[in-house]
Every structure is written in structure tokens, then in C-alpha cells.
């Protein structure tokens, strides 16, 4: 019976294979496990922000011969795992990276919830968890619970506060009035930002004239924009996600929404968004200060990974890996605890400037950017002492 033989063989291979292809003790390379979504709802974001920085970093480290350890140079080998946007899959992948593939380092996984779900697994196997794609107000309590947890990021409130501060400055200087329309996507980060933002708006002396949520996956944002427009706001704030960031912008453009400041949160920093007509002078989460090094980073990123880096996570992600490389080389071994101890209390020179992680949370981020002439300039940030942020411009036209 041919078919049965075939099935028997396939079944036997399938059952055995995940376990037998164990790691041969490979001393020539430094293995870095990268777990993230390659399929499912989080895949589009991970494809821009999460996987490419690792690829670029490995490419560049290897081009200079590898990581310099005491016993010679080691090339970086990236092992990618797909978590299918499901926490148990992420846990399993981290477990596999630690126990079967015996990775020398496992990168923080993609998205806040997933980092929290995998934290016990990282801790159990003694892997420090250096995360970038993890934004939450619970940072200090998480760090307390998991001493190996590091956030190369800031809190949700920092982003809400950053945006509202920008608006407050405009209001206080008399450039805009005090009426603001706020909408948010009915999902995770959108709701968190909206909840963090509400009291801050009040404190800053704003009147919220429109405050509604809309579901993830809405196909027409015209009603939202028209209703917000009817409330005659001076500023429009959308705590949004990538698909709706685009959708709201398109609807606002058609409606020629008469606001002097327009802010949208996640996805505003994508280069694709900057390319959409009418995105000029839109404010959003993230932003970077325009320097020749940064320009060069975007160029290299595109060349190596074939993906356009974004203007929020990507430069910081890359900087985090620079910190990691510097720490590994300073320690000179693959001792993970020593590496973590090294970057716990030191300052590092990186792409985004000199950074450190007091309390295991990054001390500085750019919180608000604005599209100006095809570049998403940082207009506000936290922790950058005396940084030369770009002047905020008013949104004057939609063409």
C-alpha cells in the first residue's frame, strides 16, 4: 500500500524532526534567536520594525568580522521564529531557542503582551530580556517581578503626554484654541493611550469636544471624521493603529478637516505614510532628529533588508542592538548575566545619541514627530537634555 507507506514515513519524520535537529555545539558563531509574528494580525508591523533591525545589525557586525570575544571573533547568526501572533506559540519558540537551539542570546519578542507572556520563560532559563517593542505604564512593576527585563522604550503615558505637551505649547502661544477632538482605535494600545490622555488634556486646559472609539478593521472613516469636524475642534488627535492611521488621514484629507494640528499615533512614522499625499505637517508618535548618520542608517536599512525602516521603533531598535554588541565585546564571553550586568548601569554611544537604562528602562525617547518635507522630524521627546527639536508647524493644507 503505497499511500500508507508514505503516510507512515511522513508521520514518523514529523514526530521526530522537531526534536532531533538539535543544536550541534557550534562554537564559531554567536546565535541570536528572534521571535516575532511573521503571520497573523501583528505580522505587518513586525515586518517593518522587528525583524529587519536584527538582520541589518547581523549583516554589519559580520561584515567587520564578527563579535570580538576573548577566544576569537564570532559571526552573528540570526535564527528567526514565527509566533503566529499567538502567545503560547511565542512561549514555545523562546523555549525552543533556549533549550533546543541553545541560542547565545534571545531578543525581546514583538509587542507588549507577548513580552509579558514570555517573561517567565526568559527568566526560567536565565536569559536577560532586552525589549524594544514593549510600551507600557507597568514598566517598573514588571522589572521588579522579572529582574532580567529591560525596556529600551518608554511608557504609554510618555507618548500621550508628549503629544499633549506639543498641543499645549501651541495653545499657550495662541496658535490654536483649546478645543480638541480625540478618537481612538478600540484595541489595546489605542485604548491605553486614550485613557492616559484624557486627564492630561484636562490638566493642560483643553476641552475635549469629541471623544469616541472606533473598531479595529473599520472600512470607512468618513463618519468619524465628519462627526469630529462638526464639533469644530482646533486640534484632532487619533490614538490610532496602522490601518486606521491611513484610513483616517484619507478621510480627513477629503473632508479637508479644518484643524491646525493633526496627530495620529502608531504607523505615522512609517515611510509609506509620509509618501501619502496630504501627510505634510501631520504629527505622530516617534520621530527622529535629522542627522547625516540617521540618513545613512535609513539608506543602509533599505539596501540590506529591502524594507523601509520606520521613524519610531527602527532607529531605537538598532541602537539597542549597538548597546548589546558593545556589551558583549566588553565582557568578551557569552556569559549572559555578565552582559546584562554590563549594560544595566552604563552609558552607551548609539545611533540615537548617548543612552542608558536607569531602573532598566530607557532614559530617553522621541515622543512626537512631524512630517516636514518627506522627513519625520522629532518635535518633542523625553530625556534628551537641550535637544534641538524641530519647530512645530501648523497644519495648513491637505494637498
Amino acid at each position: 500500500m503505497k499511500r500508507r507507506e508514505f503516510l507512515k514515513y511522513t508521520a514518523a519524520t514529523a514526530i521526530a524532526a522537531p526534536f532531533v535537529r538539535a543544536a550541534q555545539a557550534d562554537t564559531g558563531v554567536y546565535k541570536v534567536g528572534v521571535v516575532g509574528a511573521k503571520t497573523g494580525p501583528l505580522a505587518p508591523g513586525a515586518a517593518i520594525t522587528h525583524f529587519p533591525p536584527y538582520q541589518l545589525w547581523a549583516h554589519e557586525v559580520n561584515a567587520r568580522g564578527g563579535l570580538k570575544l576573548k577566544d576569537g571573533q564570532r559571526k552573528v547568526q540570526i535564527i528567526e521564529y514565527d509566533d503566529h501572533t499567538a502567545p503560547p506559540e511565542a512561549i514555545k519558540a523562546v523555549e525552543r531557542a533556549a533549550t533546543v537551539d541553545k541560542c547565545d542570546w534571545i531578543g525581546g519578542v514583538y509587542a507588549t503582551g507577548f513580552n509579558l507572556a514570555t517573561a517567565p520563560t526568559f527568566a526560567k532559563h536565565g536569559y536577560p530580556q532586552l525589549t524594544q517593542a514593549c510600551v507600557t505604564d507597568q514598566g517598573p512593576s514588571i522589572v521588579k517581578r522579572y529582574p532580567g527585563f529591560f525596556m529600551f522604550q518608554s511608557s504609554t503615558t510618555a507618548y500621550a503626554k508628549g503629544a499633549i505637551d506639543v498641543l499645549k505649547k501651541l495653545k499657550d502661544s495662541g496658535q490654536i484654541g483649546n478645543k480638541v477632538a480625540a478618537v481612538n482605535v478600540g484595541d489595546d494600545f489605542g485604548i491605553e493611550l486614550a485613557n492616559a490622555g484624557r486627564p492630561l488634556f484636562k490638566k493642560a486646559g483643553f476641552e475635549i469636544v469629541y471623544d469616541k472609539s472606533y473598531p479595529l478593521g473599520t472600512q470607512d472613516y468618513t463618519p468619524v471624521i465628519k462627526a469630529a469636524s462638526a464639533a469644530n475642534p482646533d486640534a484632532f488627535v487619533a490614538w490610532s493603529y496602522p490601518p486606521d492611521t491611513f484610513g483616517l488621514q484619507a478621510a480627513a484629507k477629503v473632508e479637508a478637516l479644518k484643524v491646525k494640528a493633526y496627530y495620529c499615533a502608531v504607523g505615522c512614522g512609517f515611510q509609506a505614510f509620509g509618501g501619502v499625499p496630504g501627510s505634510e505637517n501631520i504629527l505622530g508618535a516617534g520621530g527622529v532628529v535629522d542627522t547625516p548618520e540617521i540618513r545613512d542608517f535609513y539608506k543602509r536599512h533599505k539596501e540590506v533588508t529591502k524594507v523601509d525602516a520606520d521613524y519610531w521603533g527602527s532607529p531605537f531598535y538598532y541602537s539597542m542592538l549597538q548597546v548589546l554588541a558593545q556589551s558583549i565585546e566588553a565582557v568578551g564571553t557569552t556569559d549572559r548575566q555578565a552582559i546584562a550586568a554590563y549594560f544595566r548601569n552604563r552609558k552607551f554611544k548609539t545611533l540615537v545619541g548617548e543612552v542608558e537604562m536607569p531602573g532598566q528602562i530607557l532614559d530617553k525617547v522621541y515622543t512626537v514627530g512631524q512630517w516636514q518635507g518627506g522627513f519625520f522630524n522629532a518635535v518633542n521627546g523625553e530625556g534628551f537634555a537641550g535637544s534641538n527639536y524641530t519647530q512645530v508647524k501648523l497644519k495648513t493644507s491637505w494637498s
Binding site: 521564529y81 517573561a119 484595541d187 485613557n195 472609539s213
Partner: protein, 330 residues
């Protein structure tokens, strides 16, 4: 044990036959062996084992309803998500075991409402509605969170070790099996088999088809909610996108169908190879997972039309020199 053969007597609770005792003994032995897994393996192999028992619980509870009625329910994610949210919402207020019960109750209530509303209509409409249910529940949840201003992601901090999750899920799977076996022997099970074969005949026999279906739907959904409560602490952080992921519903159906739906132990035969195949593909080809998974689905549909149980029974029948292959599939 087969549902069809387990209930030779129709009315009342039949005495347990010697054959059934044997099956029960074998089942208990298998259960004991399975319970020893965390003592032997750890790390990655244990993670895979947890996946297997979780999906076994899902697929078997799914089968309780969809097996006998032939209604493809695509709403596992809705009930799973409800269980997670109940747990996450109450974790700081009441003891965890109470939450497990509360999750089951919440799932049962939702299932009763949905069941009463939609199970009167014929199968295919139910399929579509069940598919939309997870979305509907998710929309209502997130809207409620916006209106009442609670946190979107909810933190669940209950300390449990990995083997503990395994044992909890295994115990639940055993309970689901027992319930399934009991239903198979009861009058309800008999009524459901008639409905599954021909609903018109069932109505003419004086069976209240709607009620039977609703009862079964409630039982099946309650278990899905309890699974949500059991794994919520393991996920640590509950957010709408992952709690109500519609893909879960499909995954469960595929696994159950791969195993075969006319035996209570059918889904088990689907869950184990599917989970391992899924692992193999994810590891070897992380960039082509979807593509290869799609191909595997197609292969399964065309090469193993009646699931693994169908395949095994075909072979069994042929060995015995009996009925022609495939003739037994209702």
C-alpha cells in the same frame, strides 16, 4: 470507544459492559501515562506537550457539539476569549478557582443566548454566525472598555509552574472525555445521533431538536471558556487581538476534522500529528509557514478525506476482509 457502539440500549442508563470496562481501563492507563510526561521531559518538549493537551481539550470539546450534530462551529475563540477576560477582570478580586467556575458560567450564559437564537436555523447559517461571534464579542468588549475606561490589556498574575498548566489541561481533557462518554450513553446522545443523521426524521420521532442542540452547545462552549480561564495566567496579559483570534477557531476545526469526527477519540489523532507538523514547518521554514501549511491542508483534504479515524477504520475493515472502504462514513 465509539459513540455508536457504546450505547446498545436506548432508554435509561445501560449497564456498563465488559468491553466498556476494558476501554475505561485502557483510557485510565493512557491518562496516567500522559500525566507522567512533565516528570520525564522539560523545556521545549514540555511546551509542545502543553500545546497538544490544550488543543486536545479544545478539539474534543468542539466535537461534543459538532460531532453528533454535524454543525461546524467556528466560535471557539469567542468562548475562549470570554474565559480569559473573566479571569483577567477578576484576578485581583476573587480567588483563582472561583474564576475558573465563573468563566464556565459566563461561557454557558453566552452559549445559551446564542444557541437559543441561532440553532433553530439550519446548519450553514449557524456556521457563518459562529464565525462572526468572536468578532461581535470582541467589538462589544473593546467598546465597553473604552466607555468604562478600564485598561485594555489586563494583567493576570497567578503563579503556576509549566507542569501545573499541563496537568490542569490534562485533567480538563479527561473530564471532557468523561462527559462525552456519558452523553454518548444517555438519551441525549441518542437523540443527537438521530439529528445528525437526519434532522427531519428526528423531528418526526418527537425529539425536541432545538433543545438538544442548545444543551450540547452550552456544554461544549463552557469547556472552551474554562480552557481560557486555565491558560490566562500563562499568557500573563490579555488583549482583544490575541484573546479573540479567529484563527484559533479554524485551527481547532481543522485538527478535529483531520482526526475524524465520528469517534470521541478522533480529535486526539488529529491534534498530535497536526501540532508536530506545525512545529516542524515553523522551525524549518519560518518564512514560508503559511504557504506550506496551506499545502498541508490541501493534502489532508484530498488524501485523508475521512480523517485519521476513517483511515484506521478502512484498514481495520480491510484486514478483517469486511466492508468496502469508506462505506461506513455517515
Amino acid at each position: 470507544m465509539s459513540i455508536a457502539e457504546a450505547a446498545p440500549v436506548v432508554r435509561g442508563g445501560p449497564a456498563i459492559s465488559a468491553r466498556e470496562w476494558r476501554m475505561l481501563l485502557v483510557s485510565v492507563l493512557i491518562l496516567l501515562a500522559a500525566a507522567c510526561v512533565p516528570l520525564v521531559v522539560g523545556g521545549y518538549a514540555l511546551q509542545v506537550s502543553i500545546s497538544i493537551v490544550m488543543y486536545a481539550a479544545f478539539a474534543t470539546s468542539w466535537l461534543l457539539f459538532s460531532g453528533p450534530t454535524n454543525y461546524i462551529a467556528l466560535c471557539t475563540a469567542a468562548f475562549f476569549g470570554i474565559g480569559m477576560y473573566v479571569t483577567a477582570a477578576g484576578v485581583d478580586l476573587v480567588p483563582y478557582p472561583v474564576l475558573i467556575l465563573a468563566s464556565g458560567v459566563a461561557g454557558a450564559i453566552l452559549a445559551a443566548i446564542v444557541g437559543l437564537a441561532t440553532l433553530r436555523v439550519s446548519g450553514i447559517y449557524f456556521v457563518i454566525f459562529s464565525l462572526g461571534l468572536a468578532e461581535l464579542v470582541r467589538q462589544c468588549m473593546t467598546w465597553g472598555q473604552h466607555v468604562f475606561g478600564t485598561m485594555s490589556g489586563l494583567y493576570v498574575t497567578v503563579d503556576r509552574s509549566e507542569p501545573m498548566y499541563y496537568w490542569q489541561l490534562l485533567a480538563l481533557t479527561a473530564v471532557i472525555f468523561l462527559v462525552g462518554w456519558w452523553i454518548g450513553r444517555s438519551r441525549l446522545g441518542f437523540a443527537l445521533r438521530i439529528i445528525g443523521n437526519d434532522e427531519v426524521v428526528a423531528v418526526h420521532c418527537g425529539i425536541n431538536t432545538a433543545r438538544a442542540k442548545v444543551v450540547l452547545f452550552i456544554i461544549s462552549s463552557t469547556f472552551a471558556s474554562i480552557i481560557g480561564a486555565l491558560v490566562a495566567p500563562r499568557w500573563g496579559y490579555v488583549e482583544p487581538v490575541v484573546a479573540f483570534n479567529p484563527f484559533l477557531s479554524f485551527q481547532v476545526v481543522i485538527m478535529a476534522l483531520l482526526g475524524g469526527t465520528h469517534r470521541l477519540w478522533g480529535p486526539l489523532l488529529g491534534v498530535i500529528p497536526f501540532t508536530l507538523l506545525w512545529e516542524l514547518i515553523s522551525i524549518e521554514f519560518p518564512d514560508q509557514t503559511t504557504l506550506l501549511l496551506g499545502l498541508c491542508f490541501l493534502l489532508i483534504v484530498y488524501a485523508i478525506p475521512n480523517g485519521f479515524t476513517g483511515l484506521i477504520e478502512d484498514v481495520w475493515q480491510r484486514r478483517k476482509g469486511g466492508v468496502a472502504p469508506g462505506a461506513r462514513n455517515a
